[in-house]
Symmetry: C2
Subunit: 185 residues, 2 copies
Amino acid sequence: MSLPHAILTALLEKPSSGLELTRRFDRSIGYFWSATHQQIYRELGKLEGEGLIRALPSEQPARGQKKAYEVLPAGREELARWTAVSQDPKPHRDALLLRLRAAAVVGTTGLDADLRRHRELHARQLETYREIERRDFPPGRDEPEDRLRHLVLRAGIDLETFWTQWLDHALAEFAELPDMPERQE
Amino acid sequence: MSLPHAILTALLEKPSSGLELTRRFDRSIGYFWSATHQQIYRELGKLEGEGLIRALPSEQPARGQKKAYEVLPAGREELARWTAVSQDPKPHRDALLLRLRAAAVVGTTGLDADLRRHRELHARQLETYREIERRDFPPGRDEPEDRLRHLVLRAGIDLETFWTQWLDHALAEFAELPDMPERQE
DNA sequence: ATCCCCATGTAATGGGTTACATGATTCA
DNA sequence: TGAATCATGTAACCCATTACATGGGGAT
């Protein structure tokens, strides 16, 4: 139940059309709450129906036409309410860890290539985050909003750092391991 | 598409009934691939239909009766195939980070209490992991299967360590922040 | 007998993913 | 005018979540 609130946040930061939102979900918000354009359009329709946002009164709302939305006061209130309310952390799901556990039973054949690939993906994401940090949070500025957003970015940086290091560790273990073909018991 | 493979792994480690599987998902496998008993029963039915597992031929399969399953050779092959195949990492979704970003716009009221709560939950999970490590991986043993499973546990330990530290950091920032009521712009 | 817990399920709902459809604009 | 791209959507399917249902066994 967080997609609508992700959209409200993004729209408060800057009123946008569906496609602009989609692009911003690919870049920034989506780093910790991903969404496809289909989800976004569906949700924009719902939010408008509930009176939390409205289409900016400009062009004709025909099919191929841009339609920008802005947040209404009710939407801002809903977001503030949701932000303040206590929520339990969702249980994780990590397919790579699951595959390692499976590999302990059926053998590690083929896994290390993918571990290397994941390592590179995480390293690249880490580099992306560091660029954003250099660009958006140069030393010196410290408005409260900046500090909060920087904190979020820091979580991303530290998580990607963890994963690259852990994968290095895992690959080192793999190098020492006997090949572990899948043994029929 | 990983739940069936999580179940195959668990059943290879030890043939079990639906409820036993549910309990083990609550304890160990579920730490990185959670599932409820409804999901598990549904999936057990599917896996049996596909000929990947079978019910152990023992008791009568009446409604209130235990029914244990074991993995068939086809199931082991499917798991080995899935383990070896390259997979893209799924995009994350983290509601807490999203709430922080929302807080940068609508104010931080009420958030720090929940940050503290999350910190305690992560600290407790970390303690659980450390106990498992002491119990299951005492110094000295290093069968290949153990090293893989230990590697997975290490990921859990390091992730929880990261979160407790990051939340400490976040709470320290909050303490310094002006109260940031939600300002209407 | 009744109550509670164990064990296996069914049904309804909702969100996410993938594939496809349609109109508008731009450019060769 | 035809192709490519932008922009907004629809539809179908799958998976996860929540609530409920049913039967068996043990304890008081």
